[in-house]
C-alpha cells in the first residue's frame, strides 16, 4: 500500500517536474510546480515527516507559488517560443550534468542499507513538530538565529530597493 502510494506520488512529481520546464505557457508552468510540491509533501508524509509535509504545502504551494502566479500574471508574459535555447554547446553541457546527477542519485540509492524501513528513524509517535521545535531552540539555536538575521537583512534590502525605485 505504502509502496503504491509512494510510486504514484513519485511518478506525479517526475511527470509534472518535466511539464514545469517543457510547457510553453508560464501560468501552466507555475501550476505544474504546485503539483510537484504537493507530490513532495505526500512523500514526506509517507516517510512519517508530518510537520515537513505541512510546512511544504504552507510555504511553497501556499505562499511562494501564489506570489509566482501573481508576478507572472502581472507581467502578462505572452506564450513563449518553441522549446530549446538554440545553443547546442550549453544543451550538451546541461545533458551531461543531468546524467551525472542522475548517476549520483542511483549510486546513493544502491548504497542504502537494505533493511531500511518506510518511515524515517526521526518520526516520533506524537508527530515531528515537537522534536523539530526543540531542536531549533536548543542544539541548532545559533543557526536558527543566524537565518533570522539573514532574513532581516534581505527584508531591509528589499525595502531599500523598493524605496529607490519610487523616488
Amino acid at each position: 500500500m505504502v509502496t503504491w502510494v509512494f510510486l504514484a506520488a513519485a511518478a506525479v512529481a517526475v511527470v509534472f517536474a518535466c511539464l514545469a520546464v517543457v510547457v510553453r505557457n508560464p501560468i501552466l508552468n507555475v501550476l505544474s510546480l504546485v503539483i510537484v510540491f504537493f507530490a513532495m509533501a505526500a512523500i514526506f508524509a509517507l516517510l512519517g515527516m508530518d510537520f515537513l509535509a505541512a510546512i511544504q504545502v504552507i510555504v511553497y504551494s501556499g505562499a511562494i507559488l501564489v506570489l509566482f502566479l501573481f508576478v507572472v500574471m502581472l507581467l502578462n508574459i505572452p506564450r513563449l517560443g518553441r522549446l530549446g535555447s538554440g545553443r547546442p554547446f550549453q544543451a550538451l553541457l546541461g545533458s551531461l550534468l543531468a546524467a551525472f546527477l542522475g548517476g549520483l542519485l542511483l549510486a546513493a540509492a544502491a548504497l542504502l542499507p537494505a533493511g531500511l524501513g518506510a518511515v524515517l528513524p526521526g518520526a516520533a509517535a506524537g508527530g515531528t513538530a515537537v522534536p523539530i521545535g526543540r531542536a531549533l531552540i536548543s542544539s541548532h539555536l545559533f543557526v536558527f538565529e543566524f537565518i533570522t538575521l539573514l532574513l532581516a537583512a534581505a527584508i531591509v534590502g528589499a525595502v531599500y530597493l523598493g524605496e529607490r525605485e519610487l523616488q
Partner: protein, 355 residues
C-alpha cells in the same frame, strides 16, 4: 476492517451533510438578514418565511446554460470551481466538533468527532489547506480571459497573502498557550473557568489575537468589507464574472463553506470549541457528545450571524486601504499579541489568569 471503514465513511458523510446543509440555510439567513438590517421584507414568497427560496435558487442555477467564453483556457476554467469546492470542504475534517472519549459506533471506537481532530499537526493542516484557497480564485480570474476577472484574481492573491500573515501570527498565541498543534488539545485547554465565572477561553487572555483572527478571516473568505476580488461596483463580479450555472454555484457554495469553516475555527481557537464553562456533566458517552456538538453548533451559528451582520453594516474598503490595514496595522498588532502571550506565559500566569 469492514466496520472501521463504515465508521469513517459515516463520519465523512455526516461532515459533508452538515457543511452542505449550512449553505442553503446561510443563503436564506443572508437574504432575510440583509432585509432585516435594511428594513425590507426580503424573499417571502416561496414557502413559509421564504424558507424554500434557496431551493428555487438552485433550480434556477441548474437550468441555466453553462457558458464557456470563446477565449477561455478551457480545462482550467472548468476545473477552478471544482477545486474551490474541494479545498473548502477539506479544511473541516480536522476541526473537533464534540467530545469523543469512549464513544463507540457498531462496537468500534469512533476515534474523533468529526474525522481527524487528533491530527498531530492539526493547526498546520488547516493552514496548509486554507492557504490553497486562493488558487481557484486566481485561476478562475486568469482562465476567463476577461480583464475584470483577471483583476479580481490578482487582487485575491495579493489579499490572501497579506492577511494570511496576520492570521497565522494571531493563532501562534493560541498555539503557545495550548503547547500543542492538536485542535482537540487546544479545546480542552480552554475548558473550566477563572475566578469561578470567567471562561478559560483564549479570547479572555488574548482579545487582541481573537480580533485580528476574526478580521483576517473576513479577508480570507472574501466577505465584505474585504470582498475586493469580486467588488461589484468596480469589477462587474470579479473573478467569477464569466461563470454561470453550476460553475458559478460552486464558487458561491465554496464561499459559504469557507465562512462556516472560518466560524468553526474561530470558535475552536478562541471561544472554547464545544466546551461550556463551569458545567460538570453527570453523563458521558453519546449524550455528552451530542450536547457538545449542540454547543459547538450554537457558537458557530452566532459567528455566522456575525458574518452576515458585518457584511450588511460596513461599506467596502478601497484596495490600498485594505493593504495598508493588513500590513501596517494588523501585522504589528499580531506581533504585539504574540509578545503579550509570551509575557503571560513567561510569568507563569496562564494557570490563574493574567490578573
Amino acid at each position: 476492517m469492514g466496520t472501521e471503514v463504515v465508521v469513517i465513511a459515516l463520519k465523512l458523510a455526516f461532515g459533508l451533510a452538515v457543511l452542505l446543509t449550512t449553505v442553503p440555510i446561510m443563503v436564506w439567513v443572508e437574504r432575510r438578514g440583509s432585509a432585516l438590517i435594511q428594513d425590507r421584507l426580503g424573499p417571502n414568497r416561496v414557502g413559509p418565511l421564504g424558507l424554500l427560496q434557496p431551493v428555487v435558487d438552485v433550480i434556477k442555477l441548474v437550468t441555466k446554460e453553462n457558458f464557456l467564453p470563446s477565449r477561455a483556457q478551457a480545462p482550467i476554467y472548468l476545473l477552478a470551481p471544482v477545486f474551490a469546492i474541494i479545498i473548502a470542504l477539506s479544511t473541516f475534517i480536522a476541526v473537533p466538533i464534540g467530545p469523543d472519549d469512549g464513544l463507540t459506533l457498531f462496537g468500534r471506537p469512533v476515534d474523533g468527532l468529526l474525522v481527524a481532530p487528533h491530527l498531530d499537526i492539526g493547526l498546520l493542516y488547516i493552514f496548509a489547506v486554507a492557504s490553497l484557497g486562493v488558487y481557484p480564485l486566481v485561476l478562475a480570474g486568469w482562465a476567463s480571459a476577461n480583464k475584470f476577472s483577471m483583476h479580481g484574481g490578482i487582487r485575491a492573491s495579493a489579499q490572501a497573502i497579506s492577511y494570511e500573515l496576520a492570521m497565522t501570527l494571531a493563532v501562534v498565541g493560541v498555539l503557545m498557550g495550548a503547547g500543542s498543534l492538536r485542535l482537540d488539545e487546544i479545546v480542552l485547554q480552554q475548558s473550566g473557568t477563572w475566578l469561578g465565572m470567567l471562561p478559560r477561553w483564549n479570547v479572555v487572555v488574548q482579545p487582541l489575537g481573537a480580533l485580528i483572527f476574526v478580521v483576517a478571516v473576513f479577508a480570507e473568505t472574501n466577505r465584505l468589507p474585504f470582498d475586493l476580488p469580486e467588488a461589484e461596483a468596480e469589477l462587474v463580479a470579479g473573478y467569477h464574472t464569466e461563470y454561470s450555472s453550476l460553475s458559478f454555484a460552486a464558487f458561491y457554495m465554496s464561499e459559504y463553506i469557507h465562512m462556516t469553516v472560518a466560524a468553526a475555527l474561530a470558535t475552536t481557537l478562541f471561544f472554547g470549541g464545544w466546551t461550556l464553562p463551569g458545567i460538570e456533566l453527570p453523563f458521558g458517552g453519546w449524550p455528552q457528545a451530542l450536547l457538545g456538538m449542540t454547543v459547538f453548533g450554537l457558537k458557530v451559528a452566532l459567528f455566522l450571524w456575525f458574518f452576515v451582520w458585518v457584511r450588511w453594516t460596513l461599506p467596502r474598503f478601497r484596495f490600498d486601504q485594505l493593504m495598508a490595514l493588513g500590513w501596517k496595522v494588523m501585522l504589528p498588532l499580531a506581533v504585539l499579541n504574540f509578545l503579550w502571550v509570551g509575557v503571560v506565559l513567561g510569568l507563569g500566569l496562564m494557570e490563574e489568569g493574567p490578573w
